[in-house]
Symmetry: D2
C-alpha cells in the first residue's frame, strides 16, 4: 500500500520539479533583461539593497515547512545563479579561463624560445646575481646544456632588511650582458611598480615573486608592459586567488603570462614549502596559460629536485625552474638549496633521459 503511495508522491514531485525548472528559467530571463538595461545605463548589476528587500519579502511570506534561514539560502542561490548569468562575460569567464579561450597560450620569445604548448622549458640560474663572473659561469653552462632561459635575482625581497637585498639595476645589467653573450632569454624579478618600465631595457621576462602575488599595484603595472610575465603563486594563495592575480595582469592588456607553482606554506618541516602538485593539472584545466613548477623553492633542499621535476612534467607542467650557482656554499642567498654546475648538468641530463621533458625547439 505505502509503495503505491510512494509512487504517487514521486510522480507529483517530478511534476513539481518540471514546474520549478520552468519558473526558475523564466525568472532568469527576466534577470537577464534587467541586466541588459543596467549595462546600458552603466549601473552595477549587483544591487544588494534590492536583493535584501526581495529576501525580506520572501521571508515575510514564508509559511513553512522551510525555516526562514533555508528560504534565504535557497533564494540567495537562485539570485546568485541569475547574477552569474548576467555577468558571465565579465566574471565567470575570466580572461585567463579556458572557458574564455580553449587553446593553450604559447609564448614565443625573440630568440625562438617557446613556453607552453607541447614544449617543455627549463629556466635555471642563480638565486641572486652576485657578479658578472658568477652569472657568466652559469650562463656558459646553460648554453652548453641547451637550457634556453637564464634566471637571476637583481632585486631580492628578503625577510630581514639587513639581509643582502640584491645588486639592483647593476644586477639587471649583468643579466643583459650575459644573456646577449650566450643568446639566452633572461628573467629577473621586479618588486617595485616604478621599475616595470625600465625592465624592458634589460630583461626578456619579468618575474613577479610569491611575496608580491597580492601586490596589485605591481600586477597592474605589469599588465601595461610588453614583456611576458612569470607570476609566482603566493606563499599561501589559493589557486583561485592565483588565477585572479593573473587576471589583474591580463585584464590590463598583457596576455603573455605564465604561472608558476612554488610550494605552499604548511606545517611540514622536512621541506621548505609543500609542492602542490595537483595545482598543475587543475590550473592547466582552468586556464589556458602555461604552468611551470619551481622545484627549488618548493623543496628547499637539493636532494629531491630531480624527482620533483619529473613529477611536475608528468603532471602536465610546461616547464621547470631550478636554481644553479657556481659555488652554492658561498651564495649570498639560498645557499643550501642551489645546485652547483655539475649537479645541474646531471639533473638536466637525467630529466631529459626520463622522456618527460619534451622539446623540439628549446634544446
Amino acid at each position: 500500500m505505502s509503495n503505491i503511495q510512494l509512487d504517487h508522491l514521486r510522480q507529483e514531485m517530478d511534476q513539481m520539479n518540471k514546474e520549478l525548472l520552468k519558473l526558475i528559467s523564466k525568472r532568469a530571463d527576466i534577470a537577464k533583461e534587467i541586466g541588459d538595461i543596467k549595462e546600458k545605463q552603466g549601473v552595477p548589476k549587483f544591487d544588494p539593497v534590492r536583493e535584501n528587500k526581495m529576501l525580506e519579502q520572501l521571508v515575510s511570506l514564508n509559511e513553512g515547512p522551510f525555516d526562514d534561514g533555508t528560504v534565504r539560502h535557497l533564494f540567495k542561490q537562485i539570485f546568485k545563479a541569475s547574477l552569474d548569468l548576467q555577468s558571465a562575460e565579465h566574471k565567470k569567464h575570466l580572461l585567463v579561463s579556458r572557458k574564455k579561450k580553449a587553446e593553450d597560450t604559447v609564448i614565443e620569445l625573440q630568440d625562438g624560445t617557446i613556453i607552453g604548448g607541447s614544449e617543455s622549458v627549463l629556466i635555471a640560474g642563480p638565486c641572486s646575481v652576485e657578479s658578472y663572473e658568477q652569472v657568466r659561469e652559469v650562463g656558459a653552462a646553460l648554453k652548453a646544456s641547451g637550457v634556453p632561459v637564464l634566471r637571476g635575482g637583481a632585486f631580492k625581497p628578503r625577510t630581514s632588511p639587513y639581509d643582502f637585498q640584491g645588486l639592483g639595476v647593476e644586477g639587471l645589467e649583468i643579466m643583459k650582458k650575459v644573456g646577449s653573450e650566450f643568446g639566452l632569454t633572461t628573467i629577473s624579478e621586479i618588486v617595485d611598480p616604478r621599475h616595470i618600465e625600465i625592465a624592458a631595457d634589460y630583461i626578456d621576462i619579468i618575474q613577479i615573486g610569491a611575496r608580491n602575488m597580492h601586490n596589485f599595484e605591481l600586477l597592474k603595472e605589469a599588465g601595461e608592459s610588453n614583456l611576458p610575465v612569470l607570476l609566482k603563486r603566493g606563499l599561501s594563495a589559493t589557486m583561485e586567488e592565483f588565477l585572479h592575480a593573473a587576471e589583474y595582469i591580463v585584464s590590463r592588456g598583457n596576455t603573455q603570462v605564465m604561472l608558476i607553482e612554488r610550494g605552499i606554506r604548511t606545517y611540514e618541516k622536512w621541506t621548505r614549502n609543500t609542492l602542490d602538485i595537483s595545482a598543475v593539472p587543475i590550473i592547466k584545466q582552468e586556464s589556458h596559460l602555461p604552468v611551470l613548477v619551481d622545484v627549488t623553492h618548493s623543496a628547499g633542499r637539493k636532494d629531491i629536485l630531480l624527482p620533483c621535476a619529473k613529477a611536475a612534467l608528468a603532471a602536465g607542467a610546461d616547464g621547470v625552474m631550478v636554481e644553479v650557482h657556481p659555488d652554492p656554499p658561498t651564495a649570498l642567498s639560498d645557499s643550501q638549496q642551489q645546485l652547483d654546475i655539475p649537479q645541474f648538468e646531471d639533473f638536466f641530463k637525467e630529466l631529459k633521459a626520463s622522456g618527460l621533458y619534451k622539446s623540439t625547439v628549446n634544446v
Copy 2:
C-alpha cells in the same frame, strides 16, 4: 523610459519569486510525506539513485538560459534542503547541539566539583605520572591553592615507540591514591578501548587525547562509560569534526562530555600549536557542552600561559588546563612547557586576581 521598464520587470520578478516560494514549499511538503513513509519502512531517506534520475530528467528538459551545471547545482540545493528537513531530528540537530538542548550542560562530580555553567574550573597536574612522590607533591600544591581537578598521564601516546610510554595501570593507581588523599577529582587519558571499563576503578574523568579524537572505537566505548569524558580537539580537526566526535560519545548514552581546545597545527614556529581562541565562543554557541582550553599544549612554552588562560576565560571558556611538575627539567615528557610549583601558584593567583576566573564552588 528604461526605468519604467525596469520597474515593470522588477514587479514581474517579485511575482515570480512568490510563485517559486509557493512551489518550493509545496515540494518540501511532499518530500516530508515521502520521508515519513520511508521512516515507517525503515528505509534510508537519502536515495542517491532517485536523486540522480531526477537531476538527469531536469537536465534533459533544460532549455536555458542556465547551463546544465547550474540547473544541477540549484536543484541539488533544493533537494538537500528538503532532505535536511526530513532528517532534521537525526542529523541537523545533533545531540550535542544547542538547537537540541538550549541550556548549558553542567557536570557535577561526587566531591562537589562543578564543570560548566557559571563556574570556572582549573585542571592541573603533571604531563606524565612518574612516581607517587611526584604526583603527591603536585596534589598537595593543588589542594593548598584550591584547585579541584588533578590531571596526570598514565598511558602516554608518544610519537616514537622508544619514548617513555607511561606507567600504565600503575600510574592510574597513583592517581587514585593521591586523589583520595587530598580529595581531588582525578583525570587521566585512556588510549585503548579495552581500558575504558577499568578506568572507573581508578579515576573520575576519562580524557581522550588529541591523537585519538578520530579513534571512533575508543569514542564509542567511552560512550558506554558512566564516567564524564574530557575530549580534546584533534591536531588538525575542524570544529565540525570536533562536535561530531563528541556526538559519537553522547549518542551512545554518555552525556557528560566536556570539550577542550588545545591548539591546532599550523605553520607558525614560535608556538607548538596555534591556540584557536575563536573556537571557544563558536563551540559554546553551537553546543551546550562545557568548553575548556589547554593552554600548555596550545602554547608549548611557559612564558605565555597566563595571558592565554586569561584570553580563554575572557572568550567564555568554562575552564583551563595547565601542566605542573615539581621539577620540570627532569620531567620524562614535555619538560620545556610544564610550570614548576611556585610558578603554578603565581599563575593561579594572577588568574584569580584578573577577575576572569569565576568560582563559588571550585575554590
Copy 3:
C-alpha cells in the same frame, strides 16, 4: 663497582666541560677581534668560503666517535654563535626588539589619542569608504560612543580585478572631511609606494594591509613617512616575519609603528581566518611596539566579535579594530562581517563593561 666507575667518569666529564667552555669562549674572543677588523674594512662578517674551509679541515681531522655530519653540525653551531656575537648589535637586537628598547613605544596623536602603554584603543569604521554620508554616519556614532579612531578603506586590495577597488583619493578626502568634522583620528590603507607621500595630506595613520606585509618597497617608503603606521600581519606570515616587516619601516627612521594581528590562514572553515591569540603576548614580549587585534578580519563573522575582542584585551593587546557600516547588507565589500551601528554600540558598551578596556584618555 660500576657506580664508582660512573662517578669517576662523571668527574672527568665535568673537567672536560670546563675546558670546553674555556676554549669556546677564547675562540669567540678571537672571532670578535676578526669581526672588528672586518667592520673597519667594511667587509661582510660572514665569510661562507672560509667557514666551509674550516669545516672541511675539521672533517678531515675527525677520527670519531662522532660521524662527519655531527662534527659539521656542532661546529656550525659554534661558528654561528660566534657570528651572532659579532653582529649582535645589527642583527640579533632588531630595532623593534624589546632587548633593544625595554619600555613600551607609546604613540601620541595630535588630538591626544594614545596608542600603547596602559591605554586601550578602539579603531572602528567601514571596510570601504563608499560615500561621505556613509562615513559621516559612522563618524557621528564613533564620536557619540567615545571611539577615538576612524578607519575606512579608500584603496581596496581585492582578489578580483572586477571587484570594487575603492574610491581612491576621493575616499581619502572623505576620511579627512569626516575626521576633522568630529575630531577623530583617521586611518586608511595605502597600497602603492607612490601614494605614501600624499597620504599625509589626508589621514593621520597609514595602514599597511595583510596582502602587503611582504611588499618591501611599500614598507621602505612608509619608513620615510612622518605618519604612524599600522602594519597588519600577513595572511600566513610567521611572527618572526611580521617583526622583520616592522623592522623595514623602523630601520628607515619611522619609529611610530603599531602591529596588528588579524588571523592567519588555516584549514578551519567556520572562521575566515584563525585568530592567533598567542601572537599577542609573544609579540608584546619580543617587541616594544603596540599590538592590536583586528577581530573582524580574524573571525569573518559578526557573532563572535565581542568574545574575541575580550580575549584580545585579556591577552594583553593595546587595542582592537572592528568594522562598522551603517547598512552592512548593502556594503560594497565584507558585507557579512560588518556590525551595524546599534550592534557596534552594544559591542563597545559590553567591552567597556567587561573591565578589560582600560582607558583614561581615549574615551
Copy 4:
C-alpha cells in the same frame, strides 16, 4: 697591516678548532663509556637532572663573551650529540630507516603480487563494501585489466556517527569471497585493535587509515600480526611522525609495512587534501619501506587522478591507490570522487601507456 693581523688571528682560530674537536671527541668517548655502564645497569641513558646540573655549573663558570643562553644552547647541542651517539642503535637508526637497512623492502604476497622494488602496483576498489554484487563487479574489472590488489572498506571511520559505518565483518567476508573468486589480493581497513587478529581470516593486507595513524594501540596490535600492513599518513602528520608510526609496527616484529601518502590538510579548497608529492622521494630516501600514493583521497575529485598518478610514479612511488565503484553516484560514501568502471579502465590504460608504470609480475 690589518690583513696580516687577520691571517694571524685565523691561524690561531684554526688551532683552536682542532683543539675543540679533540676535546669534544674525547668527551664523547667518555659519554659512551658512561652509556655502556648504564646499559648494563638497565638505567635510562638520558639523565635530565645530571644534564641540568652540568649546565648550571657551566653557566656559573661563564665569564663571557657568550651570554648564558648561548652557553646553555651550545652545550645542549654537545650533550645531545653525545646522547645520540650512545643510543644511536635504538633511536637514530630506526628500524624503518634506510641507514639501518639499505636495500628496499619488497613485499611478496602468496599469489605472486609484489609491492616495492622495481615493480609498480595498482590497488583499486570501492571506498566501502556495500554488497557482494558491487564488489564482484569491481573485482571482475580489476581481473580483466590486470590489477593485482582489490581494496574495499568494511569498517568505515566516518566523521558523523549517523553516516554509513560499513558492513563490518560481513564486508570482510565479501572481500574474501571476491578475492578468492578472481585470485586478487585483498586489502581492507581495520580500526579496532580487537579486530587485528581476525583480519587474517579474511584479508591479505591490513590497512590502517589516516585517522588512526596516531592510534598507537592499533599500531602495536598490527605489529603483532603476520599480515602486511598498509599505513596511511595522518591528516596532518609530519613525515617524521609518519615514519615513527611505522616504527611502532616494525618494532613489534612485523616488517611488512607499506607507507601511503594521501594528501595533507591545508587551506586550499579546490582539492580535498594537498597531495604532498615531495614526501615520496623524501620517504623513499629515509626509509626502505615501499611508498604508495592514494590519489583519490588526495585529490577528492575525479578529473585529476591520472596526472596525479603519473606524478606519483614519476616521483618514485612504488604504486598507486584509486577508488572505483560500479555506480559512483549511488555510493554510500565518497560518491563524488570514485571512478566508474570504464573511467577506471581508461585511467589504467593511460597510466600504463605513459611508461611510468613498471611491471613484469603485477600485470
